[in-house]
Every structure is written in C-alpha cells, then in structure tokens.
C-alpha cells in the first residue's frame, strides 16, 4: 500500500462492505472486461445448460418441455443399477483414467525433460514435431491401425511372430492384455501434445539456478533431480487436479474404436460410456443418458473437491482454490 492511499483511507470514514466491493470492481474493471469472453463462455456452455439436467428426473416430452414433463424421480437411473454392471463399469473407468493420468503425466514429464536436454536444435524440433503428430490422428483411424497391427489373419504383429516361427496369437480374444494395449495407444496419442505444458514450465525455470548448479559442479542427473523436478511439482499438481474431475468420464472414442462390440474383451475394457451407448443407442432416450452424465459429473465434482481439500491441507500453495 502506498503512502498516499494509506492517508486517504485514514481520512475517509471506514467504507461499508458494499462500497469496498464496488470500488474493487471499479479498480479492476479492465481485468473484468478481459475476463468477459471466458465468463460468457462458461455461462453459456457450462452454467446455462445446467438446469436442463432436470430432464434426468422426468419422463420427457416435447410438448411440455423439460420443466413441464412429468416428474419420475430416480427412475431414469434404474437401468444403471439394474444392469448389475455399475460397479464393474465404474471400476474400469476409474482405473483406466488413473492409469492415463499417472502414466500420462510421468511420460509427459520425462519427454519434456529429454527434449530440454537435447542440444541439437534441428533434431529437437523434428522429434518434437513427430511426437506431436499422433495427437491429430482421429481415434477412428487409431482403431483401424490397431486392427491392422493386431488382427489374427493379416495383422502385422502376428505376421512377425510367424516369421520367427511362433504361433499367431488371438489378440482380439485375450481380454487380459487389452488394458496394456489401450494404455499404450493412449500414451502414443497424447504424450507428445501433453509434454508441451511441462516443456514450457521447464523453460520458465529461473536460469540462475542452472548457472549456480553448473558452478557447483552438478551433473545433468542432479540438475534434473534437484532443480527441474521440484520446479515442475506445482504444474503437476494443478494438471492432476484438473484431470481428476474427469476421472468418471471415459475416453469413448478410443475405447469404442478399439473394442467396439467385441464382448470377449468387455470384462477388462467396458467403461461407463461404451456400455451406456450400447444399451440406449437406438432407444431415443435422452433422459437416461442425461442421468448417466449427471452421475458422472456429480462423482467427478465430489472427487475434485476431496482431492483439492487434501492438497490444501498438505500445502495450500498447490491447491486450486
């Protein structure tokens, strides 16, 4: 606080709460205006549709609209429980997402550090571009690529196995290995793109720390261990908290295109989205799908609040709010 403002506050009567808010709003009006697009975006696309969630509790018809249609309580949620699959689906969804989040972040950090350690400029740029590419490949194509690699009759992997005298493997009937395959495809697709944030964070580390470390004779490994990794911690935690909110949301496109209707693999690959899709695809049933979405959102919301609370207890600086 500058001296001038300090004098000012002493002379004026203590402002009421309302006045303070008004003044603060006035002071930061430019910032508020700059926030406007984001605020409007969230109002329109996130808060605006929220009341529409009511449809999950109605027997919807066009004439009466969302709020006029008859209220049916939890009836639209019944099929989730009735199927007896809810536990399996929730478990699969959460485990996959945990694997995606943990392994994804680790490989992104590793990749960012490796890129940072590269000294040859062109090699660095080229490898960065190549790693980036898979992100822009549609999951539909990934499904096709996977089939061409893994299928029994003509797949590349089995052709290779046969070349070396082995017996071809029925990969599309082996539920046990699909978690691995799905995670590998996910990492292949997302690591390059995801590493950018970490790479940017590394770029932002105060260079005097590296200079000091160099003078002290730190090795490359020690530089990574004692400077880079600790400096990435806040970024890591923020990204972690963000992604936890979506932990109940499956990567529908990837799973559907890799697995589709292959029920042999469902034990280890069926997630909430794919299962619900199969149940109500031709049912013209918006209320049940909204019910599922609501279940996922509420669960995700609770999880973010919980994790944020835990983080805040451990270190308030790292918490989102």
């Amino acid at each position: 606080m500058t001296a001038a403002t300090a004098v000012l506050t002493e002379l004026e009567p203590p402002p009421t709460r309302k006045q303070t808010t008004m003044r603060r709003l006035k002071q930061s009006r430019v910032l508020i205006v700059m926030c406007l697009p984001a605020l409007i975006y969230f109002l329109v696309f996130a808060y605006g549709p929220m009341p529409g969630s009511w449809i999950a509790f109605t027997n919807y018809n066009y004439r009466d609209g969302i709020f006029g249609s008859p209220f049916v309580g939890m009836k639209n949620f019944e099929f989730l429980i009735q199927s007896g699959q809810l536990w399996l689906l929730t478990r699969n969804t959460i485990l996959y997402n945990l694997a995606f989040i943990v392994l994804g972040n680790i490989s992104q950090i590793a990749l960012a550090i490796m890129l940072n350690e590269m000294r040859m400029k062109y090699f660095k740029k080229i490898s960065q571009t190549i790693m980036f590419l898979p992100y822009f490949i549609s999951v539909v194509l990934i499904g096709v690529i996977a089939f061409n690699l893994l299928n029994y009759d003509t797949g590349a992997v089995n052709a290779l196995i046969e070349q070396f005298g082995g017996d071809p493997v029925k990969i599309y009937s082996a539920a046990g290995i699909w978690p691995l395959i799905i995670i590998l495809f996910f990492l292949w697709q997302s690591t390059g793109y995801g590493s950018i944030v970490y790479f940017a964070a590394i770029m932002g580390i105060d260079s005097t720390m590296f200079e000091a470390a160099a003078i002290d004779g730190a090795s490359a490994w020690q530089r990574i261990r004692y400077i880079i990794l600790p400096s990435l911690k806040p970024t890591f935690i923020i990204l972690l908290l963000f992604s936890l909110g979506g932990i109940m949301r499956g990567n529908f496109g990837l799973f559907w295109n890799l697995i589709g209707n292959n029920a042999v693999l469902f034990e280890t690959t069926d997630i909430i989205e794919t299962s619900v899709y199969r149940m109500i695809v031709s049912q013209n049933n918006f209320t049940s799908s909204t019910a599922v979405g609501l279940y996922q959102s509420l669960f995700g919301f609770a999880l973010v609040m919980l994790c944020n609370w835990i983080v805040r207890r451990m270190n308030p600086d790292y918490a989102l709010f």
């Binding site: 066009y62 099929f79 009735q82 089939f147 893994l150 299928n151 199969r278 149940m279 695809v281």
Partner: protein, 527 residues
Amino acid sequence: MKRRTITKAGAVAATLALSSVALAACGSGGDSDGGNADGGASGDITPITMLVLGDKPTNGRLEAMLDELNANLREQAGAELSLYYVEWADWQTQYNVQLLANDGSVDLVTTATDWLFAWENAEKGAFLPLSEDMLKENAPKTWEQVSASGDWDLTKLDGEIYFIPEDNYTQYTNHGFFYRGDWAKEAGFANGEITKFEDFTQYFQWVKDNQPEAYPWDVAGANMAALTGYLQGHTDAITLQGVATGNYSIFETTKSDPYTISSNFMEGDALLEAAELAKEWNDMGVWREDAINYTGDTREEFYAGLSGADQHHTQTFLTQIVNNMTTKQEGSGPKMFYFGQENGNIFKDLKTHGAMAVSAASKNPEKALQVYDLIRNDQTDYDLLNFGIEGTDYILTDDGKLDYPEGYDSSTDALGSNFWGGRMDEYEYDKVTDAPNKWETYEALDAVAEDYPYETLVFNKDSIDSSLATIGGVLSTYLPQLMYGKFDDPAAAIEDMRAELAAAGYDEVRESLQADMDAWASEQGLK
C-alpha cells in the same frame, strides 16, 4: 493518459467482438442448404426446410437442382425448399437430437415407423397433428391418393394423423445372402442356386477349398445375419417393429399365434441351432477370425472377388449388386437367397417404411404441406428432386429408361437428395443399371410376402424404458459372440444369457408389451 484510454477502449472493443463471435457461433443453425442465395429475403417467398437422412453431397449438383426446383416452387407455391441433412455418422442420436431441439429450423421431417422412431416422436409431440381439412386444402393430391389407398389409418395416433406414408412406392428391403452363381454351380448346386440356409455350409466350404484368396463370407462388425437369417427361415416368428433393445429387436409373435408376444432369444431351441451353425462356420474359417472388430467395406471385397458372399436386402441386390458384379466379376452370375425362403416367412415393406411429418415447431406448416404435395405429385418437381437435371444428372433412353450421361460416376456424381418420404411408383423410371429381372423378382416376392400385421400397433414404453436398456446391455454382451460362433459352448452361453435377460426384467417387459398388444387386438376386433 490519452494513450491509456485508447488502449483500454481497444481492449474492450476486442473483448466484445470476441464474445459476440462466440455467441454468434452457437446461434447459427446447422448446415441447412439454401437453394438460392436470395431466397427468403424477398417478401412473399416462404422458405421451407426438409430434414433428410444421408451425407450431404458436395459436388454442387444438389444446389444446381434446387435452383431449378425452387424457380418452379416460387411460382407454384410461393415457397423455396432447402434440405437439412442428418448425416450417417451417429444418425440415430443426431436425428432425435434435431427433433428434440424443436426450434422451428425444419418444417418437413423424413420419418419411418420401423427405423426412424416415428411413433416415439409422435408420442413425444415432435410432429404436428395433421387435420383432414389441412391436408385437403394444402396437399389435395396427396390426400386423394392416400385416401384412395385407404392408408391414413396407418399414420394415426389417438385418432390423429401424424405423418404422410410413402404408401405408393414398391420396394423390398427383406434381407438375404448375395452369392456367386458361378461358384455355387461348381460347388455342386444345380443352376448355381442355393435354396436353404444350411446349404451355405457347402458353398462356403467350396470357396474355402477352391478360392484361397477369398473369404467365404467376409462379414464385418455389427452384422447379425447368421442368427436372424436362420431364425427367420426356421421359425414362423414375426419380429415386432418399434421395440428396440439396444441394437437388437428380439420381441416377436408367431404366425400360428399372432397375438402372443414371445422371443426366440428367450425360449426354444432355434437360437441354439443357429448359434451352433454359426460356430461351425466360424471353425471353418468362413469369416475373419477378428470379424467383430473388422470395419472394412465387405461389399467392395465381394465386388473384387475376395468374398464369396455379401449380405443385405433385395433393393440393394437389384439396384447395385447385379450391375456391379456383372461388370466387375464377369460371368459371376450374382444371385440372392432371401431369408425365410425355405418357409415363406417374409413380409412386405411397411407402408410407413418411409413417411413425411410436419414439425410441431414449423412456422409455416400449411406452406410445408403445399411444397410436399408438389414434390410428391408434380412430375417436373418430382423428377428434379429425385433424379436431378436431365442431361447432366440423368438421361432418358429411347425406351423410357433412366440412364446416366457419359462419364457419370455414381460414387462422386450422385445427386443425394434422399427424398424417402413420398416417392411414387408412377413417376419412377426403370434404370438401365437395374437388374433385368427386377419386376419378376418383385412379382415372385409379392406371391409369398405378407403384410406386416401390426402396422398400427404402437407400444407405450414409458414404464419399461429402463428394462429395455438393461436388456439391450445384456444382448450386446452375448449376441455378437453367438453370431460369430465365438463361444466354445453356445448352449451354456445361451443359458447364461437367458438368466441375465430374466434378471434384467424380460418378463415385465413382455407383459407390458402383451398388454398393449391385447388392447390393440381387441380394439381392432381381432381377438
């Protein structure tokens, strides 16, 4: 100081511009395709939008056709037509979401009772009830023709007409196998004709042994024909339309007991027989080991001589397969075995397999009906909408058949207007590319096929929606494996499936459907 103000003002302006772009983006509706740039702007011309199914063509031919058509429509009805496409990707959802929006952006809606949720949407209030006066006044020709055929009853819910049937258009969408006559002959079938479902084992085995390049039946993904084809020809089951459970329709009646609902998927041995045959085929290597996950274009494989069979309906056979196979695989003598051929268990297409409804939110329902009456009954308008511009999109041969101009390639040059809610036999041309025996085929089918008996039966699914979803979930974990013969012990798998179906509420669903059936049957004086 001044500079700061300018900067601020600039920031505010930029922000507002950005937000308005964001808002504008969510306000612009779909990819509706105006036929004429100045359409709608002029005072007396009413724009009418028709929702059609299919991928929106991008070759410019549709726009050219609409320009000509709209010149007529402006004069005849003071209206202009544009088409709104619900594309094939995820069409079930997109179609219903478009109707759910109910925002007046479409006036005419292509619908169907067996595949486009017509009853459900009528029940939910998406369609405008059409009064007799309204129809007589605005669509007199349509009114007259449908009345003469006595078909309005097929479109009534609680006594009100909700859509207009495509009831004067001959087509057969009954399914079956397409196979090669030349190979069948070598496989030992007289005249190369296969007349029983099980006989395909012999045909497939011959292909396996003698055509090493080809799969006996290259089939992909969601296909169910190995089960449903068998059931149709070995039972007298009639599959009920409009009660989907996930991707499947399992509720049936039988010809011997037409008012009692049951299901071969739940009772009897026919499903097991079908599954055992499918397992035999799987073990023979009739299809790819990983057929369930295969997404390739199996029809192209058939055209290329790399598959011994293909599977779809009569219409596909007559209008595409015969022409393509005779040119791409000379001497292949393509033939079709239709499911139910053994026991005559086949049905004609529903007269509401195609239909047109007026959206409940349409701002100009009368005008929409006037436009519909023209595109259904005015030969010039009909030809333009369905076939395009004569000379560039099609030509007429001296004997009155429809042909295509030199250099026309149906895969890139198609008009794609997809008017499937009001075609008329008297305005249709025979195509040069049609199978030469098209009409004989229709006559032969007419001789055996019956009318679907429950065209006016509408099920109320409010109380069973959740069980239907659960049943769909159970089926989706068993039927693909049964169809592709992947269970080592199909009998045990079917037993498990039936136990799960029972737990999912099969009996309650059946009873609820049965109650609707009983009410309908007594209403119709049938029972």
